[in-house]
Symmetry: C2
Subunit: 426 residues, 2 copies
């Protein structure tokens, strides 16, 4: 009897070709980031439940996989509910653990500290196509740099990483939430309506300008505010606006907004010369990004032909204070690792530089000594060799091996001169 | 106020230099195994609790981190105890998930299938020095190969991997549990006493011959059995015995034992010519290895100067049957990844081939444009560059940077010709 051997619901197994492509992506990204001074750190998969639920994780906190207490700590009869039973949880992102890591180790780390993290996170989301309950995140963060050098570097480094992966001709969109606030205020919306309008504008990519207005309409906003929002968004979306100034002409900014706009303009001027060919930095005052912890610049990478962003990030200067007991400026950029892998898979990208994989098919009448010696010889010649018993239906076996990632084969049998044949030329 | 930011009890954070050494170890091991046809696969960290508790994991099953059910599945009032609350668990090894993986995907995989796994596992052990509740395992397994080609290849491949890591002049000890059984039976112990004697012999490395006898003594075993065991173990431990035959002269074998001895001798003869220089294959009929699932050959790697083994494995032909519904011969070898990393750390091994890491120290009066341009130039020259604000106490800053993994530095300030200096030569 065969038992149910599917992975846990919403999780997945990764076969050799999938792991190879993922490792390739991770290695390319890591090499690119290392040139900007980023080094990989790792934190455990498991964190104290109190850290995970008290760090502004928003909706993600509802998706935590909770780990039971153990031994005498676990009292099923205590009746204290969930909190009494749970000690740890699986991390739902890499930002909260990084904040804890930095609070714990800052004295041993350079200042500013540049971290690269590539690792799995877990979220108990309703499983759906292309969305998994364990998936890989890929973040860089610079902690302790308050100046615009941080934003400039994150943009240049992430552009270099995506470009090295073969994703070219993309746009990095740039905003500061204070600019969108000024724009919405300038249209005549009340201060209290801002969050609601932000949420609507955040869907611009998916529902279009008319969809955004539809969501805001009929909620008692002042006369003309909606019409002015329509005009302002249309102006912001005009291609010439994206290359001009952080906000469209006519948007009134307060002193704080003015400073944000100036800084954003400086980031664009400073970062643009160091971008890979085909990459452009654009202003987009409609860029929102969901997480509430952002305090300054926001970035997002759009690749033409894909309806989602490949990377996003921003400045979050107030997250670490609660853990460390002093304010630490922080800025991060996260590559959508799973999306990158999917895109490269669709493009049929083959990792390079690996040794050629040869299947050594041995006839049953051969002695083990002959097979071991032949495999050793081929390995000495630089091939990766897997020995397999030759099957009766050789043609079918060869077809299968070609689909299983072998580059070539040798048929080893008495009375036949051994010859390494490639599947490509066969 | 600074909150408690230590990792969860028994877990650890990995700093950049630690991650770099671990990545180096994993890459060297992977390259070595790939030449033998092994390819990496991955399974999720989370498995159904029923798989984890019903797969012969022995003591490890008691150490599972259990994950709570969620949403409406979780009924705290049901009163059914632990089983009612738990749906998943964190994997405690890579063998049980591999068996599930193979049962699920065998049709898409070559036969025999060669798997390499390098990944974290979790065990809720009492934390102690050098033992962590999340640690990395590194296994190769060949599934579907019943012949001694499997043992020969695992031994050669693992020897090549350890040798590539710089661990040379080691011994691979070889046994089959049926041989130790014959030896113990031949001493006059009753069949029912075998497990107890095995457990004692398993401690030979730690407690010595006298310690083993002490444990067996005074339990009503037949007259002379203890003395004969002493003689037989002493004979087995003699250096000449290790290079002679699988069991010492005079040990009587039944037909099954005879076949095991013959096969083991063949494995040594076949594998030895392909071993890296300084590596020797020795018979050791006292080798037990704890796991109950082994059915044939057993191996263990001892490196002189270390009181523990660096790798171990064996044949386990009856584990996969229960999951797949048909017998699948299987054989595996597991490298003690954490021990390898510790040994290389102690030896001060530095990963090679990475770009030189330069700290670009910029004076406060410099414009961001100058800093960005200078960093870009150095990167174009092949360096990995991290920009850092120059501190007032430059000498102290340089000392810190040298310990933080930088290879060199540039002081960028007005009126000073920039120059890349190495910490080595400074």
């Amino acid at each position: 009897v065969k038992r149910n051997t599917a992975p846990a619901r919403g999780m997945r197994d990764l076969l050799p070709a999938q792991v190879e492509l993922r490792d390739h992506c991770a290695a390319v990204i890591q090499r690119a980031y290392e040139r900007f001074g980023y080094r990989r750190v790792e934190t455990p998969a498991v964190e104290h439940i109190g850290l995970l639920t008290g760090s502004g994780g928003g909706e993600n906190e509802k998706l935590i996989f909770r780990i039971l207490k153990r031994g005498e700590k676990l009292d099923l009869e205590a009746g204290g509910g969930l909190d009494e039973l749970v000690e740890f949880g699986l991390r739902y992102d890499l930002t909260v653990p990084l904040a804890r890591f930095y609070a714990e180790h800052a004295a041993e780390l350079p200042n500013p500290f540049r971290a690269l993290q590539i690792g799995p996170v877990w979220r108990a989301e309703r499983p759906q196509r292309g969305r998994y309950r364990q998936f890989t995140q890929c973040d860089i963060d610079i902690l302790g740099e308050a100046g615009e050098l941080a934003e400039v570097e994150l943009i240049q480094a992430t552009s270099a990483a995506l470009s090295a992966l073969g994703l070219t001709d993309f746009q990095v969109r740039l905003n500061d939430r204070r600019l969108l606030a000024a724009l919405v205020r300038g249209c005549g919306f009340a201060e209290g309506a801002l969050p609601e309008v932000f949420i609507a504008v955040d869907k611009l990519d998916k529902v279009g300008l008319e969809g955004v207005l539809e969501e805001v309409r009929g909620k008692g906003h002042p006369d003309g505010a909606l019409r002015r929002l329509q005009d302002a968004l249309a102006a912001a979306l005009a291609p010439e606006a994206a290359r001009g100034a952080p906000v469209p002409e006519g948007v009134a900014l307060d002193a704080e907004g003015e400073a944000a706009a100036e800084r954003l303009a400086a980031v664009r001027t400073l970062a643009s010369p160091g971008l890979p060919p085909g990459v452009e930095l654009l202003f987009d005052p409609t860029l929102v990004r969901g997480m509430g912890y952002y305090t300054g610049a926001l970035f997002e990478v759009s690749v033409p032909g894909y309806p989602f962003s490949f990377a996003g990030g921003g400045r979050y200067d107030r997250m670490l204070g609660g853990l460390i007991g002093r304010e630490v400026p922080a800025c991060g950029f996260s590559i959508g690792f799973e999306r990158v892998v999917l895109a490269l898979e669709e493009r049929g990208v083959q990792p390079e530089g690996r040794p050629s994989r040869v299947a050594l098919l041995h006839a049953p009448e051969l002695s083990a000594a002959v097979v071991v010696a032949a495999a050793g010889l081929l390995r000495a010649a630089g091939r990766a060799v897997a020995t397999l018993p030759q099957r009766k239906k050789l043609a079918r076996q060869l077809d299968e091996l070609a689909t299983q990632g072998f580059d070539g084969f040798v048929v080893l049998e008495p009375g036949r001169a051994p010859d390494v044949r490639s599947f490509q030329s066969a």
